[in-house]
């Protein structure tokens, strides 16, 4: 008779899988066992699987062990337990799962046609290309801020510091991945880091332009905060998926939690610390080229009519 024994790691991942034949299968720490488990809390002979040809059932028998055998979801085995395919047992600090060969499996998944995005991002060529694009983009942004003749080298040098972000990002996730899934996937995280810094930059610029275009500073603030939350959350999700074995729900909770906590803390410090006198000590304004104006210019009369409300705002400071 055949039977499958899986030794599970944390989070349910299968660490070892054995397909065994015979009517008696021994599981324990000693080397004479069919399945050897290197866990000091497991007895030398811990568990016996026995096939009864009469009723066609496997029985799981705890060998009167010191620490016992626990059927997950039920409790300690006091007597032979008639096995159902897929039962999981805790022995010592380890968990095993026992399956019959006819155990149902999930339907075959269709291979994605072509490579998925993640595969592209994981390619070192993509990572390098994205880094170069990031460098180029920031150099261009520097160029647009220049009022004098500048050499390309100077622009590149100034843009170079922005590349620290993808590298730090990749190092952190690589470390997490190395610990959690034994794989750093540095190139993937480097690509993600480049994309993150570029999208944050694009967000900041568009928020600034929209705020200017609609003459609304609050719009800039809100767009930026919301956008940052969404972006950070999305990139955290990607990182978590690649670098950990977390379940989907948990991943969502963690990514959203971290992202919005960051946004919340930033907003909180902004509102708590914002002393109007301090922030007005040098009040500077956004100014963009004429094409960025997204609103019609009002007439002077309309503008003057609105100033009454501005006076009314002063009443909040009355003592």
């Amino acid at each position: 008779m055949e039977i499958v024994v899986e030794v599970l790691a944390r989070h349910g991942r299968v660490r070892e899988r054995y397909k065994l034949s015979g009517a008696d299968i021994a599981i324990g720490r000693a080397y004479q066992n069919d399945v050897i488990i290197g866990d000091p809390y497991v007895c030398p002979l811990h568990l016996q699987l026995h096939y009864n040809a009469e009723d066609g059932c496997w029985r799981v028998v705890d060998q009167s062990t010191q620490n016992g055998t626990f059927l997950v979801g039920t409790g300690r085995l006091r007597q032979p337990h008639i096995l159902r395919s897929g039962d999981e047992f805790d022995i010592g600090e380890s968990r095993i799962r026992v399956l019959l060969p006819q155990h149902e499996i999930a339907a075959t998944r269709r291979l994605p046609s072509g490579r998925v995005l993640a595969d592209y991002l994981a390619s070192p060529i993509t990572a390098v290309a994205l880094l170069i694009c990031t460098l180029g983009l920031f150099a261009f942004a520097q160029y647009l801020g220049q009022g004098k003749e500048t050499k390309l080298q100077e622009l590149l040098l100034e843009a170079l510091m922005f590349l620290a972000v993808p590298f730090v990002w990749a190092c952190v996730w690589g470390l997490i991945g190395r610990v959690a899934v034994h794989e750093a996937r540095f190139a993937f995280h480097l690509s993600m880091g480049s994309l993150l810094v570029v999208s944050l930059f694009a967000l900041a610029i568009s928020a600034e332009y929209l705020g200017f275009g609609f003459s609304n500073d609050n719009l800039t603030l809100w767009l930026e905060s919301l956008g940052e939350g969404v972006l950070v959350c999305a990139f955290l999700l990607g990182g978590l998926q690649m670098a950990t074995q977390m379940q989907r729900l948990r991943r969502w909770v963690v990514a959203n939690g971290i992202a919005w906590a960051l946004v919340g803390i930033t907003m909180l410090t902004y509102t708590v610390k914002s002393d109007p006198y301090e922030s007005q000590a040098s009040m500077s304004f956004a100014l963009k080229p004429p094409f960025a104006r997204l609103q019609a210019a009002t007439t002077q009369d309309d503008f003057m009519a609105g100033l009454g409300d501005t006076f009314a705002e002063l009443e909040q400071y009355a003592e």
Partner: protein, 420 residues
């Protein structure tokens, strides 16, 4: 000519000169000796520590113990009467308290009263004083002791918003509030400020007489905030109305016509950037009233300023060009008044069509806490008419009523015209 005769001429010249020189020195000496008892050091004492918070000078002008000084000497005590005492120190070393009777914040005068009896006083000079008249300023500079400084009376400062007498002589901090007297010992002005290099200013003595006559006779402690507010309000009412009624002198800067020296007391200055490295040029013009009213600490008012910066480029693209303008697009603060004195700014920001072209306008206003009828207004404007030409305008006015703030804004913005 023989050597002897030459020598004789020189000796005669010296002999002739000596009496004159000696007479002047005698004047200073005689005036100081005969009037020093009418001069006081005015000290503002912080009540809880009992120490001097500031010092100035003052002088007695009547038998009844009225003492004249500057408003700025007693400003702290006006702002927080419960926290400060006003004390005098007489030339004989005696001390005593003084009571504030009246202030004129526009001309920087204060009237105090002490309880001393039999103290001498100074007479006030009535009538015109000729330019070049020799005068003697008395006071206690830097708390170093009573001094006398000779100077020359040069008449009223030309083209000014606030009337001051210009003298050639060195007034120093601490002499504020002291008298400047002529050879007969009559007061011709009250020491008020200096611009260094022997250029100093007096308050014309006529305003002291006005203050004397207008002071309230009752003994009830006056509400100084109310009084100052009324004085400031009346003043801005007068000069802003006049400003609004006159034709403004407009001058081109780049392709924009802007208000320039719109009143005799407004002075405009200009320059042009000639940095070879930058790929754009800036032409600057700043027009301002180089005078203001002191209210206390960093809080000044009663003044205005406008600044224009014309930008032009041939080589920069629109994004680059406007990023250069952006770095200079901020609100020009008229003064450094802080929490105690003013509210934060409230602002309105819009695209406004000015002279047929779109401009980005930030209009900000703040209110004076002790004088709620008065405001500071600051405006920052940027043209959005051209990708390679642009102007930044800053305009700020301090100590203005709501109505005048609106009228002046309308007039000012309306006067800015992009030449088409």
């Amino acid at each position: 000519m023989s050597l002897l005769r030459k020598l004789g001429v020189v000796v005669c010249a010296i002999l002739l000169a000596l009496p004159a020189w000696g007479r002047e020195t005698d004047d200073a000496n005689r005036l100081y000796e005969s009037h020093k008892d009418a001069i006081y050091q005015v000290r503002i004492i912080e009540k809880s520590s009992g120490n001097k918070a500031s010092i100035g000078s003052g002088f007695q002008i009547s038998a009844s113990g009225l003492v004249a000084s500057n408003y700025h000497v007693v400003a702290e005590a006006v702002k927080k009467p419960e926290g400060y005492l006003i004390e005098y120190l007489a030339s004989d070393g005696s001390k005593g308290n003084m009571r504030l009777l009246a202030v004129d914040v526009l001309h920087d005068l204060a009237l105090l009263q002490h309880e001393r009896t039999d103290a001498p006083w100074l007479d006030i000079h009535r009538g015109d004083i000729r330019k070049g008249t020799r005068i003697f300023s008395l006071g206690n500079p830097h708390d170093l002791g009573m001094t006398v400084v000779e100077g020359t009376y040069n008449g009223l400062v030309e083209h000014s918003l606030y009337e001051h007498v210009l003298i050639s002589g060195s007034l120093n901090p601490g002499m504020s509030g002291g008298p400047s007297i002529d050879r007969d010992g009559r007061v011709v002005g009250v020491n008020v400020s200096t611009a260094g290099n022997q250029i100093s200013f007096l308050v014309p003595v006529g305003y002291l007489e006005t203050l004397l006559q207008s002071r309230a006779q009752d003994d009830a402690p006056p509400d100084w905030n109310k009084i100052l507010e009324q004085q400031l309000l009346a003043h801005q009412d007068q000069y802003i109305s006049r400003l609004l009624d006159t034709e403004w002198k407009l001058e081109p800067l780049g392709e924009v016509t802007v208000p320039a020296e719109i009143a005799p007391y407004v002075k405009c200055w200009g320059d042009k950037s000639d940095d070879k490295e930058t790929l754009y040029q800036i032409t600057n013009r700043i027009c301002n009233v180089d005078e203001s009213l002191f209210l206390g600490g960093y809080f000044t008012t009663g003044s205005f300023r406008f600044q224009y910066q014309w930008f032009e480029t041939e080589k920069l693209n629109a994004v680059q060009f406007y990023s250069q303008l952006e770095s200079r697009f901020y609100l020009d603060m008229n003064n450094n008044a802080y929490k105690d004195d003013v509210t934060p700014y409230a602002c309105e920001s819009r695209f406004v069509e000015v002279g047929g072209q779109p401009w980005k306008v930030h209009w900000c206003v703040r209110q004076y806490k002790r004088f709620p009828a008065l405001h500071d207004v600051a405006v920052a404007m940027a043209s959005l008419a051209d990708n390679r030409k642009g102007m930044l305008v800053n305009f700020s006015v301090a100590g203005i009523s709501r109505d005048h703030a609106l009228q002046l804004t309308r007039r000012f913005i309306g006067a800015v015209q992009w030449k088409s």
